[in-house]
C-alpha cells in the first residue's frame, strides 16, 4: 500500500517552552517511578472522609464513589460534570455493569467538591498517557495518586477523559470489588462457598438452594470488608449494560423544565448582580458615576472592582438596566493597538523570521523541500464557546462561611479558587455543583474570573447574590480558541509521494499534544511560533485539533490536487498498511460513495483527524450558493474510538460535534478592534441553525478494540477541512481562511 518508510511520524519534541495549558500533567511526570506497589482504588483516608460526608442512615459507602442503601438503592458519586455529553450515564453503566446492579435502582449524583473526592482515576489515566507507560503508572500506589490528585484539585471534566480514564481506572474496579465484598458476605451468611454464588440485578444468588440475598441486606456488613485492589473485570461478552444504548439519566428533567442549572438557583433574600469588565482586556476601571444606576427602581448597590463594575439589584432586569445606565471609564492596559489584522501581521512576521519556540519532527526537511516547494498560508479566527447558559454563580457569605452554587467544569478547583480569593479556610468554603448549560471548555479552571468576582461581591454583601453574566459580557470576555495562522510547505515527488512536509504555525501555545499527524513521511517538521495577544485563550472543544486539523487536512487536499491524485488515494498512499487510520479512511470512502458522481454543483471533500486517541474520517458533500455561502447536503462519518460504552450517546456526540465544526467553519469569528472584541451577542456571533445543518448525517463506529479513546471532542475537527475540500471540489476555489462566510461576503 505504501512505499514510504514505516517509522512513526510522531517524534519527541525537541524543546518546549511557554505556559502549559494542562499544568498538572507536568507535576504528574515528575512522580512516575516513585513507587511500584499494589494498586488500590481509593486511599483509606479519603474513603473515611467520604463516608462521613455522604452516608446517611441505612446507607453504606464503598471506596468513596459508591453508596448502597439497605433499601437496595445504588448511588454513584461522579467526579465529572455531565455537560450534556452523557458521560455520567456512561460512568454509571460501567460501575453498575461490574457490580451487577439493577439498573432501575441506580442513581448518579455529583461528587461533593471536596478533596476526598479528587479524581484518582483521572490522574492515573493522564499519567499513563503522558508517559506512555500505563503499566508503571498502574503500579503507583493509589494513596499517592490520590494525594497528587488532591494537591492538584483534580476534579476536572475535559480532554474527553471521563469514561476512558475515570471509568476504566476507577469505576469498573469499584463495581467489581464491591460485588466481591457482597459475595463474600453472602457466602458467610448462607454458609456456602463463594464459588457457588452468582449475582444479578442487585442480588447474590445461590442457585443450588434457591436462595438469594439483596444487596441492601448485605451492604452494612460488606462495607466493613477491605476491598480487593485488583478485581477481575468482566469479559465484554457478558456485558448487559455496557455497550448498550441505555437512555441518559439526565434527560427526563431536561424536557419538562425541572432541571436546575446554576442560572436557576434561588434562595430567599437573594439579590441579582450583573457585571461589566474592561472591554479592552488588560484594562482597569478608572472611574464611574454610580448615580444613574442607583436611580433605577430595584437597583440597590453599585460595586467597583479593580477591572469591572457590578450592579446589585432585586432582579436581573433592574441590574442590567442599571449597568446599561452607567458610563464607566476603563483604561486599555496599553492594548489599544491590538486588532485582528495586527495579530495576523505579527504571526506572519514571526513565521518569516523563522525562530521557533517549539519544534518537533524528523528527517531532513530542508533537503526534502528542495528548491520549489508547494506553500499555502491558512488563517483562523478566535472562536467563542457560546455555551447556551451564560455564566451564573450564586454566593452567600454568612457566619464566616462561604457557599457557592453553580456549574463549573472543575468543582474542586472552583472551591479552591474561592478559598484563595476570600482568604477563608478551605473548611469554610463549599461549592455546590449544579447542572451545566454547555461549556465546551469555557468553564475550565484557568479562566473562571466569575468565581473571583462573585466571591468578592458576596464577601461584602449581607445577603446571597447571584451574579449573571449578560450574553454581551459572555461574548466580549471569552477564553477563546486562539486566533492562529499556519504556513504549510511541502514537496511532492513525481511518484506522487510527499518528500517533506513543514507545518509552521503561530498562536499562543504549542499545539504539539493535539497534532497527531497520521501520515508516514520521510521528513516532517512542526514548528510553533508563540504569539500572545491581550485575549484569554483556552481549550475550545477538541482544543488545538480544530485548527491543526483544518491546516493539515486542507493542505493534504492541496497536495493531492497538485500531484494530480485523488484525495482519498493520496492519503491512503501515505498511511501505514493495516493501520486503524487506513481502515477508517477506507470505510468512509466506501460508505460515502466516494468516486461516484455527485449532483451538479456539488463536491465531496474528505478529512481524517485523530484527537484524544479517537480516529475520525469524514466526507462532506456540499455546494456553494450564488452568494458563496456553503450548503452542506450530507456528511458521512466513520469513527474508531476503540470501544464504545453507550452507542447512542456516542452517536449524539459525533452528530453534535460535526455541527459545531461546521458552524465554526461557516460563520463564527471573534474579531478585535482597538484591543476590544467587536461582536456583541448571538446576533453577530453567528451559530449554525437547523436550516443550515446537514439533513443527512451517516455515522458509523468501527470499534476496533484498541484502547478506548474520547468521544466528546473528536467529532469536531474533521468537519471544517472536509467542508473546505468539498467546496474546492465543487467550485475550484480553495478556502484557506475561516470563517467561510466572511469570504463569501467579500
Amino acid at each position: 500500500m505504501t512505499d514510504t518508510p514505516t517509522a512513526d511520524s510522531a517524534a519527541a519534541p525537541i524543546k518546549r517552552k511557554g505556559v502549559k495549558r494542562r499544568a498538572f500533567l507536568i507535576g504528574g511526570v515528575a512522580i512516575v517511578g516513585a513507587g511500584l506497589f499494589g494498586i488500590s482504588i481509593a486511599d483509606s483516608n479519603a474513603a473515611k472522609d467520604a463516608k462521613v460526608r455522604i452516608a446517611g442512615k441505612g446507607e453504606h459507602v464503598f471506596a468513596t464513589w459508591l453508596k448502597i442503601g439497605e433499601d437496595d438503592s445504588i448511588t454513584i458519586y461522579s467526579p465529572h460534570t455531565d455537560i450534556g455529553q452523557g458521560s455520567n450515564t456512561g460512568l454509571a453503566q460501567m460501575l453498575a455493569e461490574e457490580l451487577d446492579a439493577a439498573w432501575d435502582q441506580v442513581r448518579l449524583v455529583s461528587a461533593p467538591a471536596e478533596p476526598s473526592f479528587a479524581n484518582v482515576g483521572l490522574g492515573r489515566g493522564f499519567l499513563g498517557e503522558m508517559t506512555g507507560q500505563a503499566a508503571i503508572v498502574n503500579g503507583i500506589p493509589a494513596s499517592f495518586l490520590s494525594f497528587i490528585a488532591r494537591q492538584m484539585n483534580l476534579q476536572i471534566t475535559g480532554g474527553s477523559t471521563a469514561l476512558r480514564f475515570t471509568g476504566q481506572q476507577t469505576f469498573q474496579k469499584v463495581g467489581a470489588a464491591t460485588r466481591l465484598a457482597l459475595i463474600e458476605t453472602a457466602a458467610k451468611r448462607l454458609n456456602v462457598p463463594a464459588a457457588e454464588l452468582t449475582t444479578q440485578d442487585s442480588r447474590v444468588i445461590h442457585a443450588k438452594s434457591s436462595r438469594a440475598l439483596r444487596y441492601g441486606e448485605l451492604a452494612a456488613e460488606a462495607a466493613t470488608l477491605s476491598l480487593d485492589n485488583a478485581p477481575k473485570l468482566k469479559d465484554p461478552a457478558q456485558y448487559r449494560l455496557m455497550r448498550q444504548s441505555m437512555q441518559r439519566l439526565d434527560i427526563p428533567a431536561k424536557v419538562d423544565g425541572t432541571a436546575q442549572y446554576g442560572m436557576d438557583f434561588a434562595v430567599p433574600d437573594m439579590r441579582v448582580a450583573t457585571i461589566m469588565a474592561a472591554p479592552v482586556r488588560g484594562g482597569k476601571l478608572t472611574s464611574v458615576d454610580t448615580a444613574p444606576a442607583l436611580a433605577i427602581k430595584g437597583v440597590e448597590k453599585v460595586i467597583k472592582l479593580d477591572d469591572a463594575v457590578a450592579v446589585i439589584a432585586k432582579g436581573y432586569w433592574p441590574a442590567i438596566s442599571g449597568l446599561r445606565a452607567l458610563s464607566p471609564s476603563f483604561s486599555d492596559g496599553g492594548n489599544a493597538g491590538i486588532s485582528t489584522a495586527s495579530i495576523f501581521t505579527a504571526h506572519n512576521a514571526l513565521i518569516a523570521k523563522g525562530k521557533a519556540d517549539n519544534e518537533a519532527g524528523e528527517g531532513d526537511v530542508k533537503a526534502g523541500l528542495g528548491a520549489k516547494p508547494i506553500e499555502a498560508k491558512y488563517q483562523v479566527p478566535f472562536l467563542h464557546h457560546a455555551m447556551m447558559e451564560p455564566f451564573a454563580l450564586t454566593a452567600h457569605f454568612k457566619d464566616g462561611k462561604l457557599n457557592i452554587w453553580g456549574g463549573m467544569q472543575d468543582p474542586l478547583a472552583t472551591k479552591m479558587a474561592a478559598v484563595e480569593v476570600s482568604g477563608l479556610d478551605a473548611d469554610n468554603v463549599t461549592f455546590h455543583p449544579m447542572i451545566i448549560g454547555g461549556s465546551f471548555g469555557r468553564r475550565l479552571p484557568m479562566y473562571m474570573e466569575i468565581v473571583s468576582q462573585v466571591t468578592k461581591l458576596a464577601m461584602q454583601l449581607p445577603y446571597p447574590v447571584k451574579l449573571i453574566w449578560s450574553r454581551e459580557e459572555e461574548v466580549a470576555q471569552g477564553a477563546y480558541r486562539p486566533q492562529s495562522s499556519a504556513v504549510l510547505t511541502a514537496s511532492v515527488t513525481d511518484k506522487k509521494r510527499i518528500a517533506a512536509y513543514q507545518n509552521d504555525y503561530a498562536q499562543p501555545e504549542s499545539a504539539e499534544d493535539e497534532t497527531v499527524f497520521p501520515y508516514i513521511l520521510p521528513a516532517v517538521s512542526r514548528r510553533h511560533f508563540a504569539h500572545v495577544s491581550n485575549q484569554n485563550t483556552g481549550a475550545w472543544r477538541s482544543v488545538n485539533s480544530t485548527q491543526q486539523g483544518f491546516y493539515n487536512e486542507s493542505f493534504m487536499d492541496e497536495l493531492a490536487h497538485a500531484a494530480g491524485e485523488d484525495p482519498v488515494v493520496f492519503r491512503r498512499n501515505h498511511l501505514q498498511a493495516g493501520s486503524r487510520h487506513l481502515r477508517v479512511l477506507d470505510e468512509v470512502a466506501a460508505r460515502s460513495g466516494w468516486g461516484t458522481p455527485v449532483p451538479a454543483g456539488r463536491g465531496r471533500g474528505v478529512a481524517l483527524v485523530e484527537s484524544f486517541k479517537t480516529i475520525v474520517a469524514q466526507v462532506v458533500e456540499a455546494s456553494a450558493g450564488e452568494d458563496g455561502m456553503p450548503k452542506v447536503h450530507k456528511v458521512t462519518t466513520v469513527v474508531d474510538a476503540g470501544s464504545i460504552v453507550n452507542p447512542d450517546a456516542a452517536m449524539a456526540q459525533i452528530e453534535g460535534g460535526t455541527i459545531m465544526g461546521l458552524s465554526s467553519a461557516i460563520g463564527e469569528a471573534i474579531t478585535l478592534d482597538k484591543g476590544a472584541v467587536q461582536q456583541s451577542n448571538l446576533s453577530d456571533y453567528l451559530l449554525l441553525k437547523m436550516a443550515q445543518s446537514p439533513l443527512v448525517q451517516d455515522i458509523h463506529f468501527l470499534n476496533s478494540g484498541a484502547d478506548m479513546g474520547g468521544i466528546g471532542e473528536p467529532g469536531v475537527p474533521p468537519a471544517a477541512p472536509a467542508l473546505a475540500n468539498a467546496l474546492f471540489a465543487a467550485t475550484g476555489k480553495r478556502v484557506r481562511n475561516l470563517p467561510i462566510m466572511t469570504q463569501a461576503k467579500g
Binding site: D256, M388, G438, L682, M690
Partner: protein
Amino acid sequence: MAIQTSINGKAVALSAEPDTPLLWVIREELGLTGTKFGCGVAACGACTVHVDGEPTRSCSVPVSDVAGKSITTIEGLKSADGTLHAVQKAWISSQVPQCGYCQSGQIMAAVALIEKTGRPSDAQIDEAMTNICRCGTYPRIRKAIHAATGQAAKAAEGAV
C-alpha cells in the same frame, strides 16, 4: 398596578415594572425557571413561551404587552395528571437533549409548529425551528418532531 394575565391556565396578578421583559417575570417573580435566559435579544430562542398560542421570545416582550393574554411555559405542557406532552415524550425517546439548556425553548417552538401544521415537512421544520442549539442536537430535534407527529419513517431516516 398589577398586570393581569394567565400563566399555564392560572390567573395571576403581576407586580413587575411594566417594562420588565416577560422572561424575567416568569423566572424571578413566578419562579418558573424552565424558561431560560440565553441572549436577551431574541436571537437564540431559549426563552420561547406561547402567548395566546404563538411561539414568543419572552426576553424581548415587555410584560405590559401580555396583559389579558394567556401564556404557556414548559411547565404547563404536561397534562393535569402529570402525563408528558407527546412532544416531550418524543424528546425522550429520540434522546434529544445534551446540555439541555435550550431544550425548553426548542420544545415550545416545536409544539407551536405542530399545532399549526399538523405534520410538518422538513422545509417547514427548517423555517420554524430557528432556535439555537450549541450542542448541535438539530438532527434529533427533527427526528423527534417527525416521531411526535406519526412520521415514523421520516424519523427513522432523518438524521442518523
